[in-house]
């Protein structure tokens, strides 16, 4: 059988060569017509150079990385390389494993559908297949040691020309067709392939290489350093603040304006509208907004003004209810609190906006406060508020919406100012302490940036590599 196959291939190649030679001698008539790609003969390209294979770093196994130097005919030379085909050596034993695997998968599927028809308990049948499969997998490393006997190279994947790196990565799931076992000796080859798929040049074979899992992702060590440094800084400053050190925070215009706006609403006898945005209760902007809401609610309770808080997220609603309730309690007016102050509208962006816009034109609030996470609705809210003649104070960490708030509102807290505002208002030492830690980190950034720019201008990329996070 093998001889027959090789005979056919040799014959085929001969025929191809003859035919290619014929087309090498174009007739004068054919010279005018465009030559289509598949009639062009190509010389075999140069092979890829320096093929290396190693276990992929920082993963949980089941992956091998290959690297090579481009064939000189890729992007230069004849420029004839269209793609690279990566081959891996498989023992024939792998097919046996695959047969059992396929049987097991079908049996499981049939079991799911209830169409598995075997003697005895179908579950036992499946279990037996599972143990057979496991056993076969455990002998797989031995089969790989037989290289180069009883096996062959098979195509893993084709990658476009210009690629210098490929990761042969399989699933962790042993039942997947392309499962890539750990601790087996793999051998690889990379072919440089031209537009005519039969014209190709294989590389040298590389191996043996094994894949296995690592316990620690060293590529993320930079991140870990930042985590530790920043964590320590925060704890340090929080401790300092707790021990009574005086921490200065500069005034924030938007926050000062909130107090005046509440006063104005009281004078006019009109309500205050507080919008928490579209964030969830876990989003940082929303959490910062809760602190500001707490302060606003307390003052509102003191002045006995009306407060309206329509919410978008049901969880945010329930948190906001508790925040407002305890603010009324702190202000000594628990009786003024009502369940209707904070209410749920709908969890759909524009339906929510439609409803809030309706509230603005019907209740005519003296002041609108928008704090939290906002998306496209920012300008819809702010312009409607302007039409209703309300004073507007906003704050968000959504870059895209800041321009609209800046343009349409009277005061805007920009990004980090919103978070700082919650610390500024809370005046709790722990919050101020973590704000200080942020400032120190910012100062460090400025310093780093300064050094980095100078070093980079001098033509070195040392500093840039220092900040590189690999995966």
């Amino acid at each position: 059988m093998k001889y027959l196959l090789s005979a056919v291939i040799v014959l085929g190649l001969l025929a191809g060569a003859v035919w290619a030679q014929e087309s090498d001698q174009p007739s004068t008539a054919a010279a005018d017509t465009a030559v289509s790609a598949d009639t062009v003969s190509v010389a075999p390209p140069a092979p890829v150079g320096n093929l290396r294979a190693y276990d992929s770093d920082n993963d949980h196994g089941h992956a091998v990385t290959l690297e090579w130097e481009l064939s000189p005919d890729d992007g230069g030379g004849d420029n004839s390389v269209l793609m690279y085909e990566v081959f891996r050596w498989y023992p024939y034993f792998w097919d046996t494993v695959q047969e059992v695997r396929a049987e097991l998968v079908t049996a499981r599927q049939r079991r799911v559908q209830g169409t598995l028809d075997v003697e005895g308990d179908p579950d036992d049948y499946v279990k037996e297949l599972v143990s057979r499969h496991t056993e076969l997998l455990s002998t797989l490393p031995e089969a790989h040691e037989q290289y180069p006997d009883d096996g062959e190279f098979r195509l893993v994947r084709a990658v476009p020309a210009g690629t210098e790196k490929f990761e042969d990565r399989g699933p962790k799931d042993r039942l997947a067709e392309d499962f890539l076992p750990d601790y087996c000796d793999f051998y690889y080859r990379v072919d440089a392939v031209t537009i005519d798929e039969s014209v190709r040049t294989p590389s040298q074979i590389v191996g043996p290489v094994q894949s296995y899992g690592q316990w620690f992702n060293t590529g993320r060590i930079v991140v870990l350093c930042f985590v530790l440094v920043f964590g320590l800084l925060t704890i340090l400053f929080v401790q300092r603040a707790r021990s009574g050190a005086e921490l200065y925070v500069r005034p924030i215009a938007g926050i000062e304006a909130v107090d005046d706006a509440i006063g104005r609403a009281t004078e006019m006898g009109r309500p205050i509208l507080y919008v928490l945005g579209l964030g969830t209760a876990a989003d940082v902007a929303t959490i910062a907004s809760f602190t500001i809401l707490s302060r606003v609610a307390k003052q509102v309770a003191e002045y006995q003004t009306q407060l309206i808080v329509p919410t978008y997220d049901p969880i945010v609603m329930s948190v906001a209810q508790e925040v407002v309730k305890s603010a009324y309690l702190d202000a000594g007016r628990p009786d003024d609190y009502s369940q209707d102050i904070v209410y749920f509208v709908t969890q759909s962006q524009f339906a929510y906006v439609a409803a809030v816009n309706g509230v603005m034109l019907r209740e005519r609030p003296a002041t609108n406060v928008y704090m939290g996470m906002f998306h496209a609705e920012s300008l819809l809210l702010a312009e409607t508020g302007a039409i209703a003649g309300s004073i507007q104070i906003s704050g968000t960490d959504q870059m895209a919406q800041l321009p609209f708030f800046i343009v349409a509102c009277d005061y805007t807290l920009i990004g980090e100012e919103l978070y700082a505002a919650s610390a500024y208002l809370g005046r709790e030492p722990v919050l101020l302490g973590s704000l200080k830690a942020q400032d120190v980190a910012k100062a460090a950034v400025v310093l780093f940036a300064l050094i980095g720019v100078i070093v980079t201008t001098a033509g070195s990329s040392v500093f840039q590599n220092l900040f590189k996070v690999t995966d």
Partner: protein, 225 residues
């Protein structure tokens, strides 16, 4: 129980997720947690639905202003819920996706939700114009910078930008309005964005740390209970 347990949960879950980033074998754990998160998020939808019904029934029973409109809300809610949960009119039956063409759910989506949402969003076209008219005035230095930057970008997005400044020789093509607009987007704009992003990034990191360590606890509501 009311305070300690939640703080412990936050600490445990948050720390676990941070650690899992550095340990490849623990990666799957973090994924499972995020799947859990999604399932809880769906329960929140139901919490929302319950609240919606409560709010509008209250409005209705107290005969508050505009109460008849609450009937519209409740009817719309009930109709969509029934049609969607029972997959009414779905040609593929219960196994098909709820948004299969021809199902009543998809039809209501097409003729009610889609036009309402898209029109609400499109009001922005009008509001962008009215806000530009009202706010882009050279009142002080900051406002003037805002105005000039916006104007150059607007001009650059039309063929008229090129028509007005096409006479500038090629060497100085940076000063042709469309190129100037791209330059502003790529450099000063980028600088501003980056400063804000670094600030926000630090803020988020710091807030996350405060949450995990249990320093920030406003989200748990008041202390009184």
């Amino acid at each position: 129980m009311r305070r300690e347990v939640p703080l412990a949960i936050t600490f445990f879950v948050g720390t676990l997720l941070i650690i899992s980033v550095f340990l490849p074998p623990a990666e799957g754990l973090g994924e499972d947690f995020t799947v859990f998160f999604d399932i809880i998020a769906v329960f929140a939808f139901f919490l929302g639905g319950g609240n919606l019904v409560r709010v509008h029934l209250t409005k209705l029973s107290r005969r508050k202003e505009d109460w008849p409109y609450s009937i519209v809300t409740l009817l719309g809610f009930a109709l969509m819920l029934v049609v969607g949960l029972f997959k009414l009119g779905n040609p593929g039956g219960i196994a098909a996706s709820p948004t299969t063409d021809g199902s009543y759910f998809q039809s209501i989506f097409d003729s009610v939700l889609l036009p309402l949402g898209a029109t609400m969003y499109s009001l922005l076209a009008f509001f962008v114009a009215s806000a530009s008219y009202r706010a882009f005035r050279a009142k002080n230095r900051e406002a003037t910078i805002l105005l000039v930057a916006a104007f150059i970008i607007l001009l650059g997005r039309t063929p008229f930008g090129m028509a007005l400044t096409g006479f500038i020789p090629e060497q100085f093509d940076l000063f042709q309005v469309p190129n100037l607009a791209v330059w502003i987007m790529n450099f000063p704009n980028l600088a501003g964005q980056r400063a804000i992003m670094i600030g926000i990034g630090l803020g988020v990191v710091s807030m996350s740390l405060r949450l995990i360590l249990g320093i920030e606890r406003t989200y748990l509501g008041g202390d009184e209970r």
